[in-house]
């Protein structure tokens, strides 16, 4: 019988060996996949035993820890002392609702898992000693004074303000309205769904500065003008005749104010007064793809770079059926309409701030960033964000010409409401009409600085559900935010 018994023994041992192999599979090959799954709470829960790094704005704490003792274990929950002020940038880290904002995208830094070898060894040693693991601190570039001015100015209006330093790409302001208090996300989420604003749904969790896709209206004329000058087929002095309308695809497209056509005028005057018919003709002459390729140089058709989560930043461009779309042929798009910001073109406020920044910065678009540096728990700077060029969008001469046109639009055009005495401001208004009164999206994009020097601030303001123009609604908000940023001159 022993021969059979040996077989049975092998079979029995084979069963156990199969278990070792099964365990190996789940703990090695399948491990990363399982760890990344949405419904896997273990990762999230075990990270609550890590003392997360702080998130700071210069001089202010945006996120800190609250220690709770439970069953002899220290758990670290988040507190956001600034409440709704920087909610959309900072986001939240909770057990019940996962994470958002920098808390999500920089989770590895804040929990100390993304470190160089020495840092990781130290982290492991802390773990063995039973000390709580401490994450790295993130210092942001936000200017909270201006951030508050922006959020207050927005009030109950739905919309967003994005402002950055054109010379470096430092993000100074990113306000989205309505905002929410990240402190209530964990235990009182119902409060957030009750937030109301002048639009419905109020959607307070959306970061409208990077997730709000709005028709750009006349602000897109800056892109069209750039394309026009870059092709060398037009100059600021190119002459046009404005009958008050333009014929695009056999249909008549009116100027904003059809009652007083300008007659003969230059491209520069057309931008200053935002004359649709001129840009309609420029668009038809250039073709859609040439304008879109210019837009790409400003960053369109890519998610604008920033340290917030990818899913919280949308690319700007033409959209078809809810998806980003690039036309195969010029004839697929009505270039005349697109040239002044209609025709399924959708943009985010951050992207339009990058356009203004590029023009202000002699044609060079800098890569936007919101993280100034990362500091270890011992106070050593682990890494510092280097300023980086994203693209040269326009040649320096053309950039100066367009900048001059935008300056005259603020001095004596559509954007006079943005004037700040003693500063050189160049701006462009936008009013994207939906045809329904009180449903316009209004815009103002601008750069500002001391006369004779490079602009220090570039800004975009977008407002939902407006009945007036961008010059009347968005420009004053841009003015007060820019003033706050310029007057204190806190930006090196």
């Amino acid at each position: 019988m022993n021969r059979q018994l040996t077989h049975v023994a092998w079979a029995a041992m084979g069963l156990i060996v199969a278990l070792v192999l099964g365990t190996t599979y789940w703990q090695t090959w399948a491990r990363p996949g399982l760890a990344a799954r949405q419904d896997n709470e273990i990762q999230r829960v075990s990270e609550f035993q890590i003392r997360r790094g702080l998130i700071l704005a210069p001089e202010r704490v945006l996120a800190r820890n609250r220690v709770v003792e439970r069953r002899g274990k220290k758990l670290y929950f988040r507190r956001y002392p600034q409440g709704r002020l920087a909610a959309h940038v900072v986001g939240y880290s909770t057990a019940s609702r996962s994470r958002a904002g920098l808390e999500k995208s920089l989770n590895g830094v804040l929990t100390g898992t993304e470190r160089n070898l020495g840092g990781l060894v130290e982290r492991q040693l802390d773990d063995l000693r039973g000390k709580p693991i401490v994450g790295d601190t993130v210092v942001t570039t936000l200017d909270l004074h201006a951030q508050k001015v922006a959020l207050d100015a927005l009030g109950r209006t739905c919309g967003a303000v994005a402002a950055l330093d054109p010379r470096s790409g430092r993000l100074l302001v990113m306000a989205s309205s309505p905002s929410y208090d990240p402190n209530v996300v964990e235990n009182n989420f119902g409060k957030i769904s009750k937030i109301t604003a002048a639009c419905r749904p109020a959607a307070p969790l959306i970061n409208r500065a990077t997730q709000g896709l709005y028709p750009p209206g006349s602000t897109f004329k800056v892109v069209t003008a750039s394309a026009a000058l870059e092709t060398n087929r037009f100059s600021p002095d190119s002459e046009f005749y404005d009958p008050g309308y333009c014929i695009a695809y056999g249909k008549r497209v009116n100027n904003f104010d059809t009652s007083s056509p300008f007659g003969n005028l230059s491209l520069a005057t057309a931008l200053q007064h935002s004359v649709n018919s001129v840009f309609c003709n420029v668009g038809k002459a250039l073709g859609a793809k040439r304008i879109l390729d210019q837009a790409k140089k400003f960053g369109f058709y890519e998610r604008p770079p920033l340290e917030t989560p990818d899913g919280e930043r949308y690319p700007s461009g033409l959209y078809r059926n809810g998806e980003l779309w690039y036309p195969k042929r010029d004839s697929d798009v009505d270039a005349g309409r697109m040239a002044f910001g209609q025709e399924r073109m959708l943009v985010t406020p951050l992207q339009m701030a990058m356009v203004a920044a590029g023009i202000g910065n002699a044609g060079i678009v800098m890569r936007p960033y919101v993280v100034e540096k990362i500091v270890s728990p011992k106070g050593q700077t682990v890494s510092r964000t280097e300023r980086q060029r994203l693209d040269r969008a326009v040649g320096p001469v053309n950039a100066r010409d367009i900048a001059d046109m935008m300056v005259s639009a603020v001095q004596a055009g559509t954007g006079t409401a943005a004037q700040i005495p003693g500063y050189r401001i160049g701006g462009k208004t936008g009013t994207a009409e939906t045809g329904v009164s009180g449903q316009n999206t209004t815009w103002f994009i601008a750069f500002a600085g001391r006369p004779g020097r490079r602009p220090e601030v570039a800004i975009a303001v977008a407002l939902e559900r407006q009945s007036l123009t961008g010059g009347a609604t968005a420009a004053p908000i841009a003015r007060s935010v820019m003033e706050s940023l310029l007057r204190r001159g806190g930006n090196p």
């Binding site: 019988m1 022993n2 021969r3 059979q4 018994l5 040996t6 077989h7 049975v8 023994a9 079979a11 029995a12 041992m13 069963l15 156990i16 060996v17 199969a18 278990l19 070792v20 099964g22 365990t23 190996t24 599979y25 789940w26 703990q27 090695t28 399948a30 491990r31 399982l34 760890a35 799954r37 419904d39 896997n40 709470e41 273990i42 990762q43 829960v45 075990s46 609550f48 439970r70 069953r71 002899g72 274990k73 758990l75 929950f77 057990a95």
Partner: protein
């Protein structure tokens, strides 16, 4: 060195390892270093010293590795049950003590010749069937988690299936020793007993909807049948019959259907009907919740594990992530905290136990002893495979216990009975060895 002295030395080593493990769980649970774990370690050591002393008296020549391996497995089980729920840990310690007491009783009772059991093989056979059917008897059986496995007698709740398994092995060892020559010819009429047992297994399956227990008992039967007759055709036919029968009954067995569905597709990308709350849910949030959370737990262990006491089994507000962690899913707790290295080591303990038990069978002299030991050894292996394999998604998950490790009284006690029988067989084999 004599067998028992080696056993004592190995027990001492096991005590060191076990104390270190339990102390880790104790200290990390408390958050401060103290010596409150010492009484526990001492109690467990004392219990196994009693077992050792009785073994020294009654079965001095028995295999010296079986008891230390059991002790280590019990200590690991106790550590993790305590780690997950200190209250259950206390009860588990009591159950281990009861198990050792029963171990002693069995040794004392059968100290002259355990082969008297063979005389009552039919009594055991009939009792096994009765015990298996007991939970489905009206008024007596308790349905827990959709499966009828428990019987309430007064304040005690026990799983008769655990005891039935042993009775079945005793019956089969006696019966097959009698009939093995006849059966080995492999004539068509010799398939009769196979069909009868298969019918019994199917009946139990329908009555209790417990695939695990049916698979375990039928598997043990096939292994013993093969050992007795050497005919692979019986095994193949048996497996085919079992699969066919289960497939035919599949429509009637909601519980089994659910288990198989969960096994094949634990994750769904779309919401499916969830019988638990009557709504549409992702399956990972409904039927396969437990399995999926358990897989997350295992995966979280990685190579080295989180360390004892430092795994994550609760959400931040203290609700358990995995229901039934200390019973059916104790392996996923072990795998998370000990990692691949530690979990493999625990499996190797089982491998060693099974290998030594099979060796007992090989060195035994008479057919009954050989078949008895082989049945018990294979039973350990298959039970381990079914529950851990279920947790690892190798086979459909069914709720049976991990021998000596899972929390649960009837399981601990019946496994100690199996251990006692193995040591009796082992002792006799050495004592009566022809020199």
């Amino acid at each position: 060195m004599s067998a028992r002295n080696r056993e004592l030395a190995t027990l001492f080593l096991a005590a060191l390892v076990a104390s270190a493990a339990f102390a880790s769980a104790w200290i990390s649970g408390l958050g401060t270093v103290d010596y409150g774990w010492l009484p526990w370690a001492a109690a467990l050591a004392a219990v196994f010293l009693v077992a050792h002393a009785v073994a020294r008296w009654i079965v001095p020549d028995a295999d010296p590795t079986l008891l230390p391996l059991t002790a280590l497995l019990c200590a690991i089980g106790l550590t993790f049950v305590y780690r997950i729920d200190p209250y259950d840990g206390r009860r588990q310690l009591v159950w281990v003590a009861v198990g050792v007491a029963v171990f002693v009783l069995v040794l004392v009772w059968l100290r002259y010749d355990y082969r008297v059991l063979e005389r009552y093989k039919y009594v055991f056979g009939v009792s096994a069937i009765v015990l298996l059917m007991l939970p489905s008897a009206p008024g007596l059986g308790q349905r827990v988690n959709g499966v009828k496995l428990w019987v309430d007698i007064g304040p005690l709740r026990f799983q008769p299936g655990e005891i039935a398994k042993i009775f079945l092995v005793i019956f089969l060892a006696g019966y097959l020793r009698d009939k093995r020559e006849a059966l080995a010819q492999g004539r068509l009429k010799d398939f009769g007993p196979l069909l009868a047992i298969w019918g019994g297994a199917m009946l139990v399956l329908v009555q209790t909807s417990d695939l695990g227990s049916a698979l375990l008992n039928f598997g043990i039967f096939l292994a013993m049948l093969y050992a007795a007759t050497g005919r692979l055709s019986f095994v193949v036919a048996g497996l085919a019959l079992f699969a066919g029968g289960a497939a035919l009954l599949y429509d009637k067995l909601d519980r089994v259907q659910q288990r198989v569905t969960v096994w094949l597709t634990p994750w769904t990308d779309d919401k499916v009907y969830c019988a638990i709350n009557g709504k549409l849910e992702y399956r990972q949030n409904c039927d396969s919740y437990q399995l999926v959370k358990s897989l997350y737990s295992i995966a979280n262990g990685g190579y080295g594990g989180t360390g004892i006491g430092r795994g994550t089994f609760q959400t931040v507000d203290g609700t358990p992530l995995i229901p039934y962690l200390q019973t059916d899913f104790v392996y996923s707790a072990i795998a998370q905290e000990l990692g691949l290295i530690g979990a493999s080591a625990v499996l190797l303990l089982f491998l060693a136990l099974v290998a030594r038990a099979m060796r007992v069978s090989l060195v035994a002299h008479d057919g009954f002893s050989k078949l008895l030991a082989a049945g018990l050894a294979f039973g350990f292996a298959l039970q381990t495979f079914i529950i851990v394999g279920g947790v690892l998604r190798l086979v459909p998950l069914t709720g049976i216990t991990l021998p000596f490790v899972s929390y649960g009284g009837s399981s601990i006690v019946s496994n100690f009975v199996m251990l006692a029988l193995l040591m009796l067989v082992s002792h006799r084999a050495v004592r009566t060895a022809p020199t």
